[in-house]
């Protein structure tokens, strides 16, 4: 029994060392700007819930910071990974809204599996260009805050203070 236990611990330590050495080589990060558009149904007012209008918002600009880990590297130019790409929209306003509500700020946290080929797939890739397709679930807060009337400078200042 002691022999088996020793072997087990030895394997764990060995795997841990291998993982520690390879983790950095399979770990990718990205950051940048983004633009997004949102289309969702909305009640015109709380008192008239049967009337549905379209709320259209848009982030003029947003920021995202992504992390990806390559689970499998099929070759130097192909990899399968899992990543998270949380992002925040600086402004998600009802600029085009025909409802009486407006929103401010949006955030989402996509958690995706990815297949990447070419540049960016692995650190050993020598390709100049790459392509990736990703899919998963996205956790959204859109918008983060609401206004009872159209978003304007006055409401924005009142919101800040």
């Amino acid at each position: 029994m002691r022999i088996h236990l020793f072997t087990f611990l030895f394997l764990i330590v060995s795997l841990g060392q291998i993982q520690a050495q390879s983790f950095k080589d399979k770990f990718f990060r990205t950051h940048g700007v983004q633009f997004d558009a949102t289309l969702m149904p909305s009640y015109l007012t709380e008192s008239t819930p049967q009337r549905v209008a379209q709320y259209i918002g848009g982030s003029l600009i947003g920021y995202h910071y992504g992390l990806r880990y390559n689970i499998v590297e099929l070759s130097d130019n192909q990899s399968i990974g899992i990543g998270i790409d949380p992002n925040v929209g600086i402004l998600s306003a009802g600029v085009f809204s025909i409802s009486e509500t407006s929103g401010l700020l949006s955030a989402s946290i996509p958690i995706e599996f990815s297949f990447t080929t070419g540049a960016g797939s692995t650190y050993n890739s020598s390709a100049n260009n790459g392509f990736s397709i990703r899919g998963g679930i996205d956790l959204n807060f859109v918008p983060l805050f609401f206004f009872d009337s159209e978003l304007n400078l006055k409401n924005f200042i009142l919101f800040l203070i």
Partner: protein, 53 residues
């Protein structure tokens, strides 16, 4: 609800453009209240190019 993103990202040496589409549907939501977390299926395609070494 539908979300679309058009983003630009940069790793240590790569420049990436991506298009993300979010399949979320919330027909009877009351947007006068913040409903908080809304999960959805998301698909993203990206193109990357080398900008430095």
């Amino acid at each position: 609800m539908t979300l679309g993103y058009y983003g630009f990202g940069e790793t240590a040496s790569l420049f990436e453009m991506f298009l993300r589409y979010n399949f979320a549907k919330n027909v009877n939501s009351d947007l006068s209240k913040n409903e908080g977390l809304l999960p959805a299926i998301v698909l993203t395609i990206g193109f990357s190019t080398v900008i430095g070494y």
